[in-house]
């Protein structure tokens, strides 16, 4: 048999084999999901009742089988001949999927009431009501996701077009060729996200605006915390599990100063940052000699100590009841309320509770961008390079005359300062703070954002925050399934991108040509 005939035979056998394999995977999934999800016990009238949820179990098994079939055909079977081809096929499949979703998103954006009609489609299907609701939810999510893909792609194209228009180096001939517009389009992600962030209140205008902006404020707060923690964990390589302590110090500093002395937010903000930085140094001193796991344990304990002090120091912090009526941020003295001196009256607008949240959004966005600017700048300065050198090799640092004590303390202080800023914003946004808000869970979440994004990567933190905070809001309709999705995506990410989403390091100084450094070469830091 010739080689061509063998290849032909393999190809013709591929689809039935893949189908058989997918069916098997589906069966296994059905057995697992059948017992886990298909049958559910619920207490009713003081006794347990068996509730059957077969549609959900079948749907999950079907997703598993379908997913396995697609992976098999698109990735694995192609990989039978050459791995390079397999990834090529994967990239092509991914690209076409993106184009499809972007087109769908464009259509939904243009058609008036597109998304509602799209998810309403399910209601007209002649199927059982239980299935109809799930399909409507799924279609609604697909609609939102496609609109997201469309918006990001459009912003990337706008950014690329602006870059081409402003770049005088490109010679004769047409500038805006499709090839020039789409080559390495992913490089435009950072400016595209910035454009979207600046225009966000306009993009989400409508009945959902308040809810969307609330979520956005939350996401941006976590982005800022992630950027702050990135200094300590990503750059200096010091694993800090008690980062929330500094967030708490910032929040309580603002709340106490503002309620006791009535000082304005903009005066309290640097003070809160300074207090948090001071606590950063206080934590830094005892842990200077600790490394790795030991450092993690002590920082974890420090976070808990701060929280427990906040609970027990009744006279100063209000104990478990927290601090009420923290002064809210006003727009240059104009409060956001229904009074005649309010923001809306001054500008002759109708009162809208979304105004306040939009203003808060821009404040936290400005603070986050300030954090990003400062850390990016510091990275290129001696201190930033010293942090990274410390992560790479502390002993070599000492042999070069670097005072590692000062360098570690400065990393703790700068990271803590940004958490302090974010904390005082949190206090003024909520108007009420209590130790409940500063549990270990928050530290773990911020650390997860930094690690998932890729240690030391600024854009990675943004993507990870959107994915972790935004997506958990996004999947709220799916209730308990969102934890499954969350867990599955974590496993997937850690399998394929063990060093985080953005797994390269950008050098801080360049002689001739900037080359990204593969993460395999970069040390994670031993504490």
């Amino acid at each position: 048999m010739t080689a061509a005939a063998t290849a032909e035979a393999q190809r013709s056998a591929a689809i039935p084999e893949a189908l058989r394999d997918a069916a098997l995977a589906g069966f296994v999934a059905l057995v697992l999901f059948g017992s886990l999800i298909g049958l559910k016990t619920e207490p009713q009238n003081e006794r347990l009742v068996l509730v059957q949820q077969w549609p959900s179990a079948f749907a999950l098994a079907f997703i598993v089988a379908g997913g396995r079939f697609l992976l098999d055909v698109l990735v694995w079977r192609r990989g039978a001949t050459a791995t390079g081809e397999a990834w090529g096929g994967y990239a092509v499949a991914l690209k076409s999927a993106l184009v499809f979703f972007a087109a769908l998103g464009a259509a939904l954006t243009i058609i008036p009431d597109g998304r509602a009609g799209f998810s309403g489609l399910a209601q007209s299907l002649p199927i059982a009501p239980a299935w109809r609701d799930s399909i409507a939810t799924a279609l609604g999510l697909i609609g939102v996701a496609s609109m997201g893909v469309f918006t990001v792609t459009a912003a990337m194209l706008i950014s690329r077009a602006a870059r081409l228009a402003l770049n005088p180096k490109i010679g004769d001939g047409p500038r805006f060729t499709p090839a020039a517009l789409t080559r390495n389009l992913i490089d435009e992600l950072a400016p595209a996200l910035l454009i979207i962030a600046l225009l966000l209140p306009m993009l989400v205008a409508g009945p959902q605006q308040r809810y969307a902006m609330d979520t956005a404020v939350q996401v941006v707060t976590y982005i800022m915390l992630g950027w702050g923690l990135n200094v300590v964990v990503g750059l200096a390589g010091l694993l800090d599990l008690g980062y929330v302590a500094f967030y708490a110090v910032g929040a309580y500093s603002y709340a106490i100063i503002a309620t006791e002395f009535g000082w304005s937010f903009w005066v309290c903000l640097p003070l809160a940052g300074a207090f948090a930085a001071f606590f950063g140094v206080v934590l830094g001193f005892p842990v200077l000699r600790l490394r790795g796991d030991y450092l993690a344990i002590v920082t974890l304990a420090f976070g808990e100590i701060i929280r427990i002090v906040l609970i027990n120091w009744q006279s100063f912090t209000g104990g478990p009841n927290g601090i009420n009526n923290v002064p809210q941020l006003s727009f240059f003295g104009l409060p956001f309320n229904r009074s005649d001196e309010g923001f809306h009256a001054f500008f002759g607008l109708e009162f809208n509770s979304a105004h306040r949240i939009i203003f808060f959004y821009y404040v936290i966005l400005a603070l986050a961008l300030f954090t990003n600017f400062v850390t990016m700048r510091l990275r290129r300065l001696p201190i930033g390079r010293a942090w990274e050198a410390l992560r790479e090799d502390e002993i070599a640092c000492r042999s070069l005359g670097l005072n590692t004590v000062n360098i570690k303390l400065s990393a703790f202080a700068i990271g803590a300062m940004f958490a302090g800023f974010a904390g005082s914003f949190f206090a003024t946004r909520q108007g009420f703070i209590s130790p409940e808000s500063f549990t270990f869970h928050e530290s773990a979440l911020v650390l997860a954002i930094v690690v998932l994004g890729g240690l030391g990567s600024q854009i990675g933190v943004v993507i990870a925050s959107i994915a972790l905070i935004g997506a958990s809001e996004f999947f709220r309709d799916l209730e308990e399934y969102r934890l499954i999705i969350f867990g599955a995506s974590m496993v997937a990410l850690m399998t394929w991108r063990p060093r985080g989403l953005v797994a390269t390091r950008t050098p801080s100084a360049v002689l001739v040509e900037r080359k990204e450094i593969a993460s395999g070469l970069v040390t994670e830091g031993k504490g």
Partner: protein, 295 residues
């Protein structure tokens, strides 16, 4: 007491619990010379280095570094005082590791190369100039604002980095990660990085380990060039006798933490104590063994 030596080690003893790694060692490293510290494995060479560069606190002894020939009586006055250093006299056993590099200007390399692997070659050399750059950036404030004084300091640092990249023949690899370099390149980069701290004494811990003969020869050239061109004093630990005998002006031989020989290469080469230590035989049997070898 006047001394032409840059480094004077006197009665240095280092104990780890019951183990005596270095026992009453005294030797001198002369200015603008290459002094080699040799000895069989476990003789305590790296321990001596770690004492000199502040990674260990010696149990006993004095390690004196003199940037210039000291005034008569200055050394005794400094030793009697509580201070760790004068203007250009340094008692290294009293100083912290990073101060020895920053103030006393002693630079070192490591037996198992310690580069900042995830950073580029250029960045490695810029980290080495941290103290000068950090002062110019005024605790990062001038740097954050992008002031002219800082930009000038940064340009000067780049220039020095480029100079040493050319000297070590690494200029083409400037923007590559240090971990990507070949073993020989990494060894040279470590020397370039140490030189960027502008040392007066360069301590090299087995710089030729793992190099092929051609690379060893290049290393010899580089080290003699550094000594002659920059007037630097070099202290080196080495097992490669081609390197040691080829470039050393002075050799100190250690065995079991004690000095067994001290002198110019030709003297050390013939010293029966040294041959005995290296061959692992008693001194009395050296003549017999030599005769056997030559037969």
């Amino acid at each position: 007491m006047t001394t032409p030596s840059i480094l004077t080690v006197e009665r240095l003893t280092m104990r780890f619990g019951g183990l005596v790694a270095v026992n009453g060692l005294s030797f001198e490293a002369r200015r603008r010379e290459i002094t080699a510290l040799i000895g069989p494995n476990g003789a305590g060479k790296t321990t001596v280095f770690n004492c000199i560069t502040g990674f260990y606190k010696p149990t006993e002894g004095r390690i004196l570094l003199a940037h210039n020939a000291p005034e008569p009586g200055a050394v005794d006055a400094l030793t009697a005082s509580a201070a760790s250093h004068g203007r250009d006299l340094f008692l290294l056993e009293r100083m912290a590791g990073h101060d020895i590099a920053a103030k006393a200007k002693v630079a070192r390399t490591f037996q198992n190369i310690r580069l900042f692997g995830g950073m580029t070659v250029l960045e490695n050399l810029l980290v080495a100039q941290h103290n000068a750059l950090s002062a110019a950036s005024a605790f990062s404030i001038a740097g954050l604002l992008g002031l002219k004084s800082y930009r000038e300091a940064e340009a000067a640092a780049m220039e020095r980095a480029v100079y040493w990249l050319r000297a070590t023949n690494l200029i083409a690899r400037a923007d590559d990660a240090a971990a990507e370099l070949s073993y020989g390149d990494q060894r040279r980069l470590e020397i370039a990085r140490a030189m960027c701290t502008e040392p007066v004494l360069l301590c090299l811990d087995e710089p030729a380990a793992g190099l092929n003969p051609r690379e060893s020869a290049e290393l010899n050239q580089l080290l003699t060039w550094i000594r002659d061109e920059h007037g630097l004093s070099i202290l080196l630990i080495e097992h490669d006798m081609g390197v040691v005998m080829g470039i050393s002006d002075h050799i100190v031989v250690l065995d079991y933490g004690r000095k067994i020989s001290d002198g110019p290469p030709d003297f050390v080469r013939r010293d029966p104590h040294v041959i005995a230590a290296y061959l692992g035989v008693e001194e009395e049997d050296v003549a017999a063994v030599e005769a056997e070898v030559q037969a």
